[in-house]
Amino acid sequence: MLLTPARFMQDIERLFREFHSPIVRYLTRQLNDADLAEELAQETFVRALRHGPVTNERAWLFAVATNLIRDTIRRNTRQRKHLVALHAELTHDESQLLSSEPDEVSPEELRQAAMAQQALEHIPERDRAALFMSQEGLNYQEIAAALGLSVQSVGTTLTRARKKVVQSYETLASENGGAHVAS
């Protein structure tokens, strides 16, 4: 991905067009923090610009993003929370513009979202990463490269992850009684 000045604009544009949204979504799901996700996405692409050519750009980008997540979570949890609060205060108006839907989230949806997030927390970090990557369209080989697994292990991991998350959600939903019933 090291770019010569002549082709510079074209390639960075292509990288962005292809991979920026998936990377942001992946980071957002992992972190549950849209702004932090944007930041780490930027960092990911900054590193991409500094790096030489790779066999598979998608796998490489997701590997970098995953490593950034790990580093970030380990180092700066407290600081992050503080900054999140600060940022929310400062950019309230801007974040209103960002969302394409007004804040009409029903209590039912909130409850389901909470259960879904909890169910996702119940699976191991690597399983969750594989799941989110498959959601963003990475194939088995790319997930394998991004996470340092064999292709067969990716299959095992995804199968296990999907079953676990669905079963966890099921358990949570049944524990919360009939209140979760869809209208």
Partner: protein, 485 residues
């Protein structure tokens, strides 16, 4: 396990997921998911597709896997409170320039410069975005795709009663990409919402149930008819030289046969044990009593044989006195074993009635005459077979045991597989024409079988899959006798 940034460049492995089968000849769970995810090689993918079409167990497993995949996608989408998968338009050029500037600066700590970096990046962009009356084409497309995907996957939670279940897999002429297949599997299996289970999970069980009920509907309800031996004829007077002996060749139990034999009159004159004799007779069809042409009569243990003519009559010469039975066979009819124990004399005559026998869609003829009334119980019949044809596996088969519960599924256990005395079971499903398709595993390789019954033979086409190579065999199994060793 973390991966250094550089490692992704060196360790990229492009081999596909390796398809694996269980001991019973089914697709493993991981392989099922891999197939749905489009991770199998093309040849393996086609293999699974054709197997799933004929295997109940695996098609149910596929339905369940699809349910889990779809439910996990919905869970991931539900976890997003706001539609974060709809990303606002980013001015690519400006953002790229900013990124490059940051990269040139060298050391970036995104945490410390968080407010600065994100504000400078986003604020000018927001103004532009906010000011534009219309989105750019790229952003519109992104929103549409993201929004459509979002709406589609969220729909079951907010609109109960929305049912969209794909009933069949259309054949692929172009291999779909992973994305397409995943999107396909999610959208095709948006199941109805059940009020008794959580909305996200209802999909799983409902999809499975729908799949299974479709299968039940598709199964043919087979009437089972079992053969009842007709009444035993009155004993004939002693002293006759040639006595027409009517033997009902329907599947009778051993004890019934004994009863019939004992009531048969003996023929006057005991043949010299060392001499040969001639046996004549006629063969008729049981229900119509019409003479049957081209019936083959043979003497087991010898090479003697004869065929009936247009009148249904035959002549067997030079039959040794110690010959105990005759084997009476014809395509489309039950094989008959005629005892010669009570047939004495230098010349003897035998009359045989044959019963039509073939596996057909509307009725199943089963060897064991358990009860006269048709019942959808498990019926088993076993046949000793001989095989004609060149092949590696088929000639080793010496017996086939069939089991059916009358629902259109047949379990065949093939005796004599190579290298072991294991009985390999295959599940067969009958189609409209009464042809059976099934699969079995031998030596770790997949064998697909197509069986066309024709009277007392089965024409078998066998395909063995070794990796991406396919080897075919064409064999004819002839039913030699009922019952297996």
């Amino acid at each position: 396990m973390s991966l250094r940034d550089d490692d992704a460049m060196n360790t990229f492995d492009s081999t596909p997921f390796r398809l694996e089968w269980t001991q019973d000849g089914h697709v493993t769970e991981e392989s099922t998911y891999a197939w749905l995810d489009g991770a199998l090689a093309d040849a393996d993918s086609d293999l699974v597709e054709s197997h799933v079409q004929i295997c109940f167990v695996c098609s149910a497993a596929v339905a369940e896997a699809r349910g889990f995949i779809a439910a996990s996608v919905r869970i991931m989408n539900a976890a997003d409170l706001s539609p974060r998968n709809v990303v606002p338009h980013i001015d690519v050029v400006r953002t790229a320039a900013k990124i490059v500037a940051l990269a040139d600066q060298g050391n970036i700590s995104t945490m410390r410069t968080r407010n600065n970096v994100s504000s400078t990046l986003l604020t000018p962009v927001l103004h532009r975005w906010y000011q534009r009356p219309a989105f750019s084409a790229a952003a519109t497309l992104l929103l549409l795709v993201g929004g459509a995907y979002y709406v589609t996957t969220r729909l079951p939670m907010s609109a109960p009663g929305h049912i969209s279940v794909a009933t069949s897999r259309t054949p692929n002429t172009v291999a779909p990409t992973v994305k397409e297949r995943m999107r396909d599997s999610v959208q095709r299996f948006t199941p109805p919402v059940s009020s008794s289970t959580s909305p996200l999970i209802a999909g799983k069980t409902a999809a499975t149930k729908t799949r299974m009920s479709e299968r039940v509907v598709q199964r043919r309800k087979l009437a089972v008819s079992t053969q009842i031996p007709s009444s035993v004829p009155a004993p004939l007077p002693l002293g006759s030289e040639s006595l027409p002996v009517v033997v009902v060749a329907a599947p009778a139990t051993a004890s019934e046969r004994k009863v019939m034999s004992s009531t048969l009159a003996t023929i006057g004159g005991v043949a010299d044990e060392a001499s040969l004799r001639t046996i004549t007779g006629s063969i008729r069809e049981r229900t119509t009593s019409k003479p049957l042409e081209a019936v083959h009569i043979s003497v087991p243990g010898t090479t003697l044989g004869a065929m009936t003519d247009a009148a249904g009559t035959f002549t067997l010469s030079n039959v040794p006195a110690e010959a105990r039975s005759l084997l009476v066979r014809r395509l489309g009819y039950e094989v008959a074993n005629v005892s010669l124990d009570t047939v004495r004399g230098v010349t003897a005559s035998v009359n045989v009635s044959l019963t039509a026998a073939f596996i057909q869609l509307n009725g199943v003829t089963v060897a064991s005459a358990a009860t006269p009334a048709p019942r959808k119980e498990k019926q088993t019949s076993c046949f000793t077979v001989s095989s004609e044809g060149v092949g590696q596996y088929a000639p080793l088969v010496r017996g086939i045991q069939w089991e059916t519960d009358g629902s259109g599924t047949y379990q065949a256990t093939l005796q004599g597989w190579p290298q072991s005395n294991d009985l390999r079971r295959a599940t067969f499903i009958a189609n409209e024409a009464g042809e059976l398709r099934g699969a079995v595993t031998a030596r770790g390789n997949r064998l697909d079988l197509e069986i066309k019954p024709q009277g007392d033979t089965w024409i078998v086409t066998l395909r063995e899959y070794r990796g991406t190579n396919v080897r075919s065999e064409n064999v004819v199994f002839k039913r030699v006798a009922q019952g297996c060793q």
